[in-house]
Amino acid sequence: MAAAEELTLLEKLLGLRRGNKYSAQGDRQIPVLQTNNGPSLTGLATIAAHLVKQANKEHLLGSTAEEKAVVQQWLEYRVTRIDGHSSKEDIRTMLKDLNSYLEDKVYLTGNNFTLADILLYYGLHRFIVDLTFQEKEKYLNVSRWFSHIQHYPGIRQHLSNVVFIKNRLYTNTH
């Protein structure tokens, strides 16, 4: 999914009515937003945070200093590790780490739904779609989180619904 498309999904999710136009820069197609009242903004995480403020939904950026830093850390994880992965091995490590991180959490910051959940959902969608049932079971916590987020109102939009099976098929893999 191109970054511009993802930002359009985010706009809809946030209830921003006037759609922005995005251009893409360089070979990594980094999104650029031309704002009316100032210089342009570059970068997926930067623009996403800007849109959240525009929609007056600052709580999605975290409410305490700690939560804000954690949200930004996962946004950074999204644009560096997820978007910058260079091999299947990278993806496996990423899923493994996230799986272990999410073991005791509902959302990425713990108990609150934030922009980090939205952008990680969009960023991971293409990988999760391709997982086998066995793998989905292996990354059980990621699957639980992902399944939860994709049913969050308004977030999935036209993206395909990823099917997870509730009862375990591969009991001996754990």
Binding site: G43, L61, E76, S86
Partner: protein, 943 residues
């Protein structure tokens, strides 16, 4: 909260500085752990520094930790800071980690360190200089400054990597470095060990993979200049000059023959690097020096500066001898043959040399020997014995690349005399095990031979004094400055100036009769002897530093010869030589994102360009449009077609043709009466500004950028015609017809101006336009600094016809195939599929213009042999990164299992064969990726 750090982790710097700046230092409990300690339980790969919060959450991102400290102090997040931090992690860090790894772990220097990060540094510099205050966000230092400063400090603390050109970055960096929190962070992280403090930590980190390169760009660097608003005064001046007409032109100075310096005038001596005679030059060579120098020479003459432009073929050296052997000719015959080829190629490209000479002349011997004697008598030469390999059968000492053997370090069997392709270590040829002459495969013997060395260390001080004076007020390109500085920083070493060869300038000294001068010593003297062959008064150019300005053009691999070696010889000879004032070096031109290669038949070579049916002016235009000015660029057929059809045909050609056609069709070929409206006056002022810009750029030899000014003016022109619609107004009332006349008149005068501005770039097209417009000869030869009315009302123009032809897709496709562009693309594509990251851009895009190989007394010579680079670049041993090797290894294992299974099942023979073929293919790819030689026989044995 607890901060886990590891000694020498670069991330410690920004984190500690941010803690200090935001006042969080006191709340921190700092624990030092080993570099491989997994502090964060959920991360597979260790990551440090890490902040463990009181809630037991972990912050493992350096910028998130810094951000947290600032958030605690009450700072509010803003878009601009977010943008800088995102850029820091996605763009700066990948580049920086490569640079730091090269510097700290691999001990590399200079370009190897700077080039991965240069773009990023320029980005920061530009952003800073666009702001009116010295910080990245807001008007005092804040989070973004601290994070970027901390990331950059390990590299930029060495001033070598903070070039003077980046003045805004320099100021910013220095301002931050003296802030107390930053100083404290530096003290506790670097512990007074400088860059070495990071070594043991970085050694334990995986080697960073080279970030995917952006495709080399042919578009100009973004330079968002604010739109200039015209002042009333500028408009008044533009109109006054316009009205003066041809009277405003300076008087023409006649050209003398020979051209000699004239006291009180600007005397410009221009040289282009001497192309080595045994190669047909390719487009990269042509744009690198002769064509670039030609544009400047033509511009210089248009400015009426007293200009002499010289070049010639460099003919001595081993490579000529080898080529002669190959072709069964004598070296002299080879030189004669190729000299003619070169001369005719340059003639076709319309290169305006005043003289195109050669280095194999008696005057070359005379001048070289004179400089040699002067150096000898002044004690700047050393004698030393050098052990060399000699092939008795060929009766010659073997230059480094004429010998092969087993690498003494890694045992690789085909190591060359100077370097092993496998382990990359530098080798002294006599250390090779089982050396072989590359020509006859005989084992050479070690013989010692006396050689002379130029004592560069003794001349270093003079060189630095001269450079200090020269560089301050000159237009050396940044790469030339950088290369020269890095040579001086590493310290100069004595350099051998003699060779055991026959084809060269003889050494006039007892005991050296069978030796000749080494090409790099006498090739630069070629400029002097070529001038001497042009005029016996050559010394008026070359021993006249006060009156002569010397511009030397070359590709960047030739810089050290012109900025260090020749100046040292000339300074040591103490004969008042004219030394280079402006050294103009280009980067490299790629061919379709690969490189030119004569041996693989890839790329367009000078002699072939003539057979494409594309006129030489189009070649000139495109090469100059993509001139590798400031960064590498690439030649692409599709781009050539695009630029021809859009810029030349639709923009420039369309405008000039329409302007002329209107005069012919509506006014009987007579320039109509013009009554300027305020809009016309503003247009004149705009054009004047653009013309000033053109002059400023060309005076600084920014050839590619100045070409943009021409295209901008013609774009203005097209707009002007489009808005004013003279073809409609001519059918209207009196006032409309008058307006149509004015617009046509102004437009055709713009066409006249463009024809002169275009002269340095496209001389033939320029003359064609001037003939069509019947521009008076006095106006053709001078380019004024302002825009007068060249063609007054009543001037009769000639017959107007279209200037450019459309290039068609199928024409370009067939050329692409013919010149290997298509094949190259295929092979590149293949590589991309197999090794998505292995396609490294090799820095060696073209054959060096200076033949010969260099060796020096110093063993750890940092100079990279130009030819060694070429052969390395052509060897198919690009080593892929570990991830790709792993991927391929997995694929081989998998395929191996398939084959085994099939065999076990006694499957159909054809099927087995097919799978075995796949397996072999994969193994080959793996071998290639690991840089191993291909072993075809291995597969057979297994069967």
């Amino acid at each position: 909260m607890q901060l886990f750090v590891s000694d020498g982790a670069p991330g410690n710097l920004p984190v500690l500085a941010a803690a200090g700046r935001a006042g969080a230092r006191g709340k921190l409990l700092i624990s030092t752990v080993g570099p491989e300690e997994r502090v964060v339980p959920f991360l597979t790969r260790p990551k440090l520094p890490v902040l463990k919060l009181d809630s037991d959450r972990y912050l493992f991102s350096t910028s998130a930790i810094c951000r947290y400290f600032f958030l605690l102090s009450g700072w509010e997040q803003d878009d601009l800071t977010n943008q800088w931090l995102e850029w820091e992690t996605t763009e700066l860090q990948p580049a920086l980690s490569v640079a730091l790894y090269n510097l700290v772990v691999q001990g590399k220097k200079g370009e190897d360190v700077l080039s991965p990060v240069r773009r990023a540094l320029i980005h920061i510099d530009h952003s800073l200089s666009r702001r009116s205050c010295p910080f990245l966000v807001g008007d005092s230092e804040s989070l973004a400054d601290i994070v970027l400063w901390g990331a950059l400090y390990p590299l930029l603390q060495d001033p070598t990597y903070l070039p003077d050109e980046l003045a805004a970055l320099q100021t910013w960096f220095r301002t931050l470095s003296v802030q107390e929190p930053c100083q404290q962070a530096v003290e506790s992280v670097l512990k007074k060990q400088g860059i070495l403090a990071f070594r043991s930590y970085l050694q334990k980190q995986p080697q960073p993979s080279v970030p995917l390169e952006r495709p080399v760009s042919n578009e100009p660097e973004e330079d968002e200049l604010p739109a200039h608003t015209l002042s009333e005064e500028e408009i008044v001046i533009a109109v006054t000059i316009w009205e003066q007409g041809l009277e405003a032109l300076p008087t023409l100075r006649p050209r003398q023959n020979p051209v000699l310096p004239v006291a009180g005038e600007r005397n410009v001596l221009i040289t282009s690097a001497l192309p080595y005679v045994n190669n047909v030059p390719h487009l990269g060579n042509i744009i690198g020096c002769v064509l670039s120098a030609d544009v400047f020479a033509r511009y210089s003459r248009l400015r009426q500066w007293n200009t002499l432009y010289l070049c010639g073929t460099d003919e001595y050296g081993t490579a000529t001898e080898t080529k002669a052997m190959e072709e069964g000719l004598t070296p002299q015959q080879i030189c004669d043959k190729y000299h003619t080829i070169h001369a005719s190629i340059y003639r076709w490209f319309n290169i305006s040399f005043d003289f195109f000479g050669r280095t194999t002349t008696p005057l070359q011997t005379k001048i070289t020997q004179d400089i040699f004697q002067r150096l000898l008598s002044r004690g700047f030469l050393l004698k030393d014995t050098v052990e060399q390999l000699r092939c008795e059968r060929c009766a010659r000492f073997l230059a480094d690349r004429f010998v092969e053997g087993i690498c003494p370090f890694c045992g690789y069997e085909e190591a060359r005399g100077d370097q092993c392709d496998k382990c990359g270590k530098l080798i002294n040829a006599i250390e090779l095990k089982k050396p072989q002459c590359k020509i006859c495969r005989e084992s050479p013997v070690v013989k010692s031979s006396q050689h002379l060395f130029l004592d560069l260390p003794k001349l270093e001080k003079r060189l630095e004094e001269w450079l200090g004076r020269t560089l301050a007020s000159s237009d050396w390109t940044p790469n030339a400055r950088f290369i020269t500085r890095s040579w001086l920083r590493d310290g100069l070493k004595p350099r051998c100036i003699t060779r055991d060869l026959k084809w060269g300038t003889p050494v006039p000294l007892e005991g050296f009769q069978d030796k000749v001068f080494y090409v790099w010593f006498d090739a630069t003297i070629g400029y002097l002897s070529i001038t001497a062959n042009y005029t016996d008064q050559w010394e008026r150019w070359w021993k006249n530093p006060d009156q002569v300005e010397l511009y030397q053009f070359m590709a960047k691999d030739n810089v050290p010869f012109h900025s260090v070696v020749f100046p040292c010889s000339a300074l040591g000879a103490e004969d008042n030589y004219t030394l280079v004032s402006h050294l103009i070096a280009t980067e490299y031109l790629n061919y379709e994102d690969g490189k030119f290669s004569k041996s693989r038949g890839v790329g367009v070579f000078g002699d072939m360009a003539q057979n494409t049916g594309i006129p030489s002016d189009i070649w000139r235009f495109y090469l100059l449009y993509v001139r590798p000015e400031g960064q590498d660029s690439s030649f692409s057929w599709t781009d050539l077609m695009l630029k021809n059809n859009s810029e030349l045909l639709n923009n420039l050609g369309n405008f000039i043709n329409r302007a002329g056609m209107f005069v012919c069709k509506f006014f009987g070929g007579c320039v109509p009466k013009m009554t300027l409206t305020p809009d016309d006056q503003r247009l004149l002022a705009h054009i004047t500004l653009e013309l000033h810009q053109y002059h400023q750029l060309l005076e600084k030899v920014r050839i590619r950028d100045a070409l943009r000014c021409i295209l901008t003016i013609s774009r203005h022109g097209n707009q002007y015609i489009q808005v004013n619609e003279p073809w409609k107004r001519i059918k209207g009332n009196e006032a409309d017809r008058l307006r149509a006349g004015t617009v046509t008149g102004v437009a055709v005068n713009m066409a006249a101006l463009l024809s002169i501005m275009l002269q340095p770039y496209m001389p033939t097209v320029s003359t064609t336009i001037q003939t069509q417009l019947q521009l008076p000869p006095a106006a053709c030869a001078v380019l004024p600094t302002n825009f007068p009315c060249f063609l007054p009302a009543g001037h009769q123009i000639g017959i107007v016809s279209p200037l450019f032809q459309k290039l068609e897709n199928d024409q370009i496709e067939s050329l692409k195939k013919r010149f290997g562009g298509g094949q190259l693309e295929d092979s590149l594509e293949l590589k991309v599929i197999i090794f998505p990251r292995a396609v490294k851009r090799d820095n060696c895009k073209h054959v060096s213009m200076w033949g010969g190989i260099i060796y020096a007394l110093g063993k750890n010579d940092s100079f990279i042999l130009p030819e060694a680079k070429v052969s390395k670049a052509e060897a198919p041993t690009e080593i892929a990164n570990p991830e790709q090797i792993k991927l391929l290894t997995d694929a081989v294992t998998k395929q191996g299992n398939i084959v085994r299974e099939l065999k076990a099942q006694k499957a159909d023979k054809a099927q087995v064969t097919a799978e075995v073929a796949k397996l072999l293919e994969l193994k080959q790819q793996l071998a290639l990726a690991e840089g191993k030689p291909l072993e075809a026989s291995k597969g057979k044995k297994k069967k």
